[in-house]
Symmetry: C2
């Protein structure tokens, strides 16, 4: 049986030592003192490890079952979902106007991590609802908000996002689902949507589907897509549930992982739908909440790696196998624990230094979202827009890689389902795919975000690194181990950007062939920046006489590892990028 | 439903254009002319795609079922296994003395690839039998060989390898299974073995278990381990089957993949066993066949990637999504096929250039095994001994990575089991673990093989690269795209070796902390060498007026991709290695 313990201290370190949340001039941040955030994270961690984590394997083993149009979630999910509702965990950052607690998004993110680590499939029911809430909150009419949001904030009603169709995923312009105006302000929606997470289940009274569809007679392609609310049960004016709508689950998909979440084919057969926002502006409505949704998926990536890492460490400390080549560490035992072996440590340090860097990167992203929204800060908005594909793409690629690496520590036991390590890898795999496959993230980054607002945001990012290095150059403890590697990696990244500028003009494929490498490069530079900052914060804490010296020293040592052993990847990515499109585009399609 | 077509032309290219097998001065190689090998590979490919491939998904879905001590293999496996026996596919490289066909191992390897690509789990029943055959053939008495081998060559009886116990995998010195001499030359074996592939099933009359156990009163640890034959049914002197032996399957493991193979817990309860070779020399007996077994696992790695790649290409050509940024390629259709997009090509070229390089590397390894065995060539033996951990470790890591990359091309469909891409990733995952987890391969390479025979073999490898570069320096077509990158990568590898020599003496952890990176580096250099040679061979074929110019030109273009885009990884690995053990060993175990 796998273990999970919420890394409260690490989360607190990022919130306070790194981001200094309570000192930020952002509405609501003044309440985020150490005691308050500690209480929230501790309690979230308790729910995660005691309620959600024990159901993780149950969800994987039982999966969701469709019988007579009704989806049965795994044993215990319903009760756990009730606890989440009662604990107010579904309402944390929601608008108080509709029953939310109005906490900053960064606080929501900090509390989400343990939930996602403990049971990713379970947490998606709430996560999708949050996404649907955000879309209605941003684009719905006041009437729609009053009607749907209070129940969605409490998760009495859950939500879904319906984009994909069998023949179109990324390219939503090919969409066929139709919306026919009924003259009374409503529409009849018909078509089939696939890969609908939490599409149907038995944990809520009602399900509010958000559906992209084309209004007949509208523009061709992506410009003719509108967003609709399609409730499973129509909602009467007094808020009571009315008749069953024309939407039904067609089947549940058999997936590689996240078995606890019901991934549905949804059939819409003249279902009543209500337009959200303007006609034909559906994509814009979806895009406004994309930063949050993609940040949430990036979090899934590293949160699964965190869980897998905790178990790998426990196994490495417990399992006796072989002897330390420099002398027995457990001379009275039959063998030394795995953790004495350098290659086991290499593997564990790869995981640890990634996960902690990823957490800092994600929380920083959440903080930028708060700054953008609550302070109407356009620079923060531009910066998080730039970072979003990196958070999503890099953290999910690496999250899967390290969940798999953790599995490797177990040897043969890692491959046996009973030990639970396979599930972390299988669950983490989806995060690389959904919410825009990672190749699309790379395209978004290089094809769109780099040049956004005249390249202003990427320049600001480089400036931020330069300033940090400059301000701390006199700090000998930081310089060699942190600032110098950061400077080198940042130079590689700038050189790649330069290559794109010089060669992408004459042939965009020269840039796009290197987009994936650029995304990874930038991920490394971001984590390098986070580590340099965290090292500085840890050093300051030690200088200030912090009592828990081991914690802060470990933080610095882990950062040193990242800078020494992970950051050099930027030179490889640059070398790949610099070869351009020639070898990538050389073959005729028939010769693959 | 996934597809599979044996890459006969690519296999023939490696056998003849690269390895020039029929011109080699090795007994049996004179028969390997193009027509003969083509007929064999074509036929193997036919069996693979028509018989084995359709059962791949069946095996994954149904798995093996244990009922009343009997294991039922998936529907169709038994009939397919009969076809394999009847076709003589189980006997190819076996000793004619015992009913084998006596073909070179490289031919066996070439025929195995399609079988493994088409159905890895199925092919393991034969693969394990081949391993047990080799152990008895190398170390058994003449009486044992006469008694067991003829039936194992035909797979009327299958074989297993019993090493792992619940508390010991890598560190077999901790073994508890006991062998008690009975005074009549036989032993009574008692203990529990786990992870026994093909441990029990319904496709053979008898199962010959090879079991490692400790003879009571023998030396402690690994030096007291002996190897025993423990047949499921005892074999009478006339060859007929006698009484059921005291060995029984305890349970079948639920695994991440290879569901079609029954992975058993085997309980030995005073089972009759017969010593193979000498007392306490069991490990040596196992080690002699390790090169072959590990090469076979390396083949599994790239063979799964090959299957996954074929499907990814088919999907990328078929699926319409988005438009080529340089202008529509399918202007009359609603969108262009995925394969127009640079990042999809980047992904596919990564896969293709790896798989084809890996095939060359593996076949070259098989050729070295033939040269070592059939010519008693100690240099070839030393070289394959050096290469074995690289073939196993690098090809299985990358095989899994690229099976996963192929899955990514499918977007959401890649995560749905129905499409078959998840299975390739899940099946490929085990190859990184069994037959010595890849961390152990890295340890074997750096801790043992580099220094073997005074470092003679690694020096010979470097010399081989140097000579090839020197001999072809005047070849302008090769120089820039192939020889220069190969030289740079080889220099990186030598620099890493130098670092180990200079720093490993004072602290072996300086070398062992870099062992995994070194294994990957060396894998890249080996594939770089293979590609340089293949490019040369392809150029020669074109110069000689080969009619299939597209095939050879594609080969060269694919090689160019590998040299430009994959080989630069060596510089990253070197940078990691050069940081030594400090950051790897910094933390106390309690601080992970």
């Amino acid at each position: 049986m796998p273990i999970y313990n919420a890394p409260t201290k690490d989360i607190q370190f990022v919130l306070h030592d790194l981001l200094k949340v309570s000192e930020q001039d952002i509405p609501g941040f003044e309440d985020l003192d150490r005691d308050f955030t500690n209480a929230v994270v501790e309690e979230a961690g308790k729910v995660a490890s005691e309620v959600l984590h024990p159901l993780n394997v149950v969800g994987d083993t039982e999966g969701c079952v469709l019988e007579n149009g009704v989806v049965r979630t795994p044993t215990g999910f319903k009760e756990a979902f009730e606890q989440m509702k009662e604990g107010g965990w579904t309402a944390m950052d929601c608008d108080p106007e509709y029953g939310g607690q109005g906490l900053p998004y960064v606080m929501h993110t900090a509390a989400q991590e343990p939930f996602v680590s403990a049971n990713m499939a379970f947490n998606m029911y709430q996560g999708l609802t949050h996404g649907a809430y955000s879309a209605i909150h941003a684009h719905g009419s006041e009437e729609q908000k009053q009607k749907y949001l209070p129940k969605m904030v409490t998760c009495e009603w859950t939500g879904t996002m319906n984009l994909t169709e069998p023949h179109c995923g990324t390219d939503l312009g090919l969409m066929r689902t139709k919306a026919v105006p009924q003259g009374d302000g409503s529409y009849k929606i018909s078509g089939q949507k696939i890969f609908i997470s939490a599409g149907e289940h038995d944990m809520a009274e009602n399900i509010i589907h958000l559906v992209l569809a084309k209004i007949q007679g509208g523009p061709e392609g992506i410009k003719g897509v509108s967003l609709f609310i399609v409730p499973k049960f129509l909602v009467n004016d007094d808020g009571s549930l009315g008749q069953r709508n024309g939407v039904a689950v067609g089947k549940i998909e058999e997936k590689m992982g996240i078995h606890g979440n019901s991934t549905c084919v949804m059939n819409y057969d003249e279902a009543v739908g209500y337009l959200v926002g303007e006609e034909h502006k559906g994509m814009r409505a979806m895009f406004t909440m994309m930063n949050e949704a993609r940040l949430g998926v990036g979090l899934q990536g590293y949160a699964q790696a965190e869980s897998a890492y905790q178990n790998a460490v426990a196994y490495a400390v417990d399992r006796l196998q072989g002897r330390d080549v420099t002398g027995a560490k457990n001379p009275d035992g039959p063998a030394d624990p795995l953790i004495v072996h350098p290659d086991i440590r290499r593997n564990l340090m790869d995981q640890k230094s990634f996960v902690e860097g990823a957490r800092a990167f994600t929380f920083w992203g959440a903080y930028l979202i708060d700054r953008a929204h609550k302070n109407n800060d356009a620079d923060a908005d531009g910066l998080i827009s730039l970072m979003t594909p990196v958070i999503k793409g890099f953290l999910t690629d690496k999250g899967f890689e390290y969940a798999t690496a953790a599995q490797q520590v177990y040897g043969g036991h890692g491959y046996i389902e009973e030990w639970g390590m396979s599930q972390y890898a299988r669950d983490a795999r989806i995060a690389m795919i959904y919410e825009g496959a990672n190749g699309i993230q790379a395209l978004d980054l290089v094809g769109r975000k780099l040049a956004q607002d005249g390249g202003k945001h990427v320049m600001a990012f480089f400036e931020m690194i330069k300033t940090f290095i400059k301000e701390n150059e006199g700090n000998e403890a930081l310089k060699k181990d942190f600032l110098d590697p950061l400077k080198a990696a940042s130079k590689d990244l700038q050189a790649a950007g330069m290559y794109f500028m010089q060669n992408g003009m004459k042939n965009p494929n020269n840039a796009l062939s290197g987009s994936y490498d650029f995304m990874h490069m930038m991920g490394h530079v971001c984590l390098g920046l986070m580590w340099a900052r965290m090292a500085k914060a840890a050093m300051e804490a030690l200088e200030a006489g912090a009592s828990d010296t081991a914690f802060y020293e470990t933080k610095i040592a882990t950062g040193r590892y990242y800078m020494a052993r992970q950051l050099p990847a930027t030179s490889m990515h640059l070398a790949r990028i610099n070869t351009g499109a020639d070898t990538v585009m050389a073959l005729e399609a028939a010769n693959f």
